[in-house]
């Protein structure tokens, strides 16, 4: 199986696989991650502030999303949206599902990080005359974000790999592209190992970005 022609196949496939990784997989993961983070911050803030009704809605959202498989959520949206008259391409649908799915998990991460900020920070903000939103923006969220950053980045790294599930709703991303190439050559295993290797490269780079990011965010002099 691993002979000269296999080696040739791997070399010629590599740019094709990488192309779909950079053109589809990464944008899908990064856009979904950014949207999910915005959603997570909003959902976490509603719970932190204890807004009535909205708070219950947020708990309901988290309950539904965390209680059902991502693959099932993809299917429901893929077949469900057209039924209610929304026709969209599968790439956009995948972004919607990934954002909403990850948002539920990251919301819990953000909520925990916000609750970990000592209540004295909020009180001190009030005492210098700031209002709730000003305190959130200047004090609570930056500190919570710093705490949540490693966990949020974890989510991004997970998401890069989970995007392969988008193949089930016809998104041609890196994994689907690999399957197509493998199907043409009937040489599956080496190509699947190759695509695994590309995922590994992506995640290694992201790990380095995380390290840089943590440095950039600083630790407010704690370990200087």
């Amino acid at each position: 199986m691993f002979n000269a022609s296999t080696f040739e196949l791997l070399v010629s496939s590599f740019p094709k696989i990488l192309e779909y990784g950079l053109k589809v997989t990464l944008p899908l993961a990064v856009i979904s991650f950014l949207l999910s983070t915005v959603l997570a911050v909003l959902v976490a803030m509603v719970q932190y502030a204890g807004v009535p009704v909205l708070r219950q809605l947020c708990r309901f959202y988290i309950w539904i999303i965390r209680g059902t498989p991502l693959l099932v959520q993809l299917m429901v949206v893929f077949y469900g949206l057209p039924l209610i008259g929304i026709h969209s391409n599968s790439f956009v649908m995948a972004i919607i599902v990934f954002s909403i799915n990850e948002g539920a998990y990251s919301a819990e991460t953000m909520r925990a990080a916000m609750e970990a900020v000592p209540s004295g920070q909020l009180e001190a903000g009030y005492c210098v005359g700031m209002n709730y939103m000003q305190i959130m923006w200047h004090i609570i969220l930056p500190q919570a974000f710093r705490t949540a950053f490693p966990s949020l980045f974890n989510a991004l790294i997970s998401m890069v790999k989970d995007t392969s599930l988008a193949s089930s709703i016809t998104v041609v991303e890196m994994f689907t592209r690999t399957k197509q190439i493998a199907g043409q050559s009937y040489n599956y295993l080496p190509l699947y190992i190759e695509v695994a290797f590309v995922y590994l490269i992506f995640c290694t780079v992201l790990t380095l970005v995380q390290k840089k990011g943590e440095k950039l965010l600083g630790s407010y002099g704690v370990r200087k």
């Binding site: 004295g120 920070q121 005359g129 209002n131």
Partner: protein, 250 residues
């Protein structure tokens, strides 16, 4: 006319009645020390006065305007807080902000003062507490005494009409306590109106103009600093002074 007056304030946590109808009155320029054993309600009183705790009932008079503790609105609270300062036992400096930003934030964000003007004001008050050379440090890089001095500068920067101190030196060793008390002494000399919940008998004696002695959620005795220390009327006060004197003098 009194700058601040509290009439008949009540506060309970569940079954536990912490304030049972306390009255206090503070004139402009007064330095009022609130003394009393732990659990007497001193800190709760101060936190209720700045609405960090919601009092159950009572009247709150500030700057000639009267409010009902149980009915005061968020907007009114915000307006009053802009004229007051608060110094916490645990400093509560903003952990993600430098010393300078800690002081300017209340000016730039809450009062919409231009950044360069806010920084000028901040440096002025930081100089006053002797922390101007630390302006780019983060709170975690400072000692407790330094953090508390920055916290005082933060309260000063907004030019409040009154500053509340909640046991400002309780977390500090004697040397750091001395440096913080020195700053507070200077403020008193400058005519700043202050209410100081404290266990520092020396400070209460030397700096304050009035003393309030609390026990079990009531004001047991109050009066000028001289009357209180030299001629206490209540047995409970005499007992308290006897014990604290014993500790101070061995």
């Amino acid at each position: 006319m009194a700058l601040l007056e509290i009439k008949n304030i009540y506060k309970s946590f569940g079954e536990n009645d912490v304030l049972k109808g306390v009255n206090i009155k503070v004139n402009k320029g007064d330095v009022v020390s609130v003394l009393g054993p732990s659990g007497s309600g001193k800190t709760t009183l101060l936190r209720c006065i700045n609405f960090l705790e919601k009092a159950d009932k009572g009247e709150f008079i500030f700057d000639g305007k009267s409010y009902d503790f149980s009915k005061i609105s968020g907007k009114e609270i915000a307006e009053i807080r802009k004229k007051t300062g608060f110094v916490f036992q645990s400093y509560n400096l903003f952990a993600n902000k430098t010393v300078l930003q800690n002081v300017t934030l209340g000016l730039t964000s809450a009062r919409h003062i231009a950044k360069n003007e806010a920084e000028k004001k901040a440096m002025e008050v930081l100089k006053k507490v002797g922390m101007d050379t630390f302006k780019d440090y983060y709170p975690s890089q400072l000692s407790g005494g330094q953090q508390q001095r920055v916290a005082i500068a933060r309260a000063l920067a907004t030019e409040p009409e009154i500053i509340y101190f909640d046991e400002p030196t309780s977390a500090l060793d004697p040397q750091l306590t001395a440096e913080v008390l020195e700053v507070m002494r200077k403020l008193a000399l400058d005519g700043m109106t202050m209410i100081v919940v404290t266990h520092e008998m020396g400070f209460a004696r030397d700096v304050s103009s009035h003393v309030i002695f609390m026990a079990d959620g009531n004001v047991v005795e109050e009066g000028s600093e001289k009357e209180f220390f030299e001629n206490p009327k209540e047995e409970r006060t005499r007992e308290f002074l006897r014990i604290t004197n014993k500790i101070v003098n061995g």
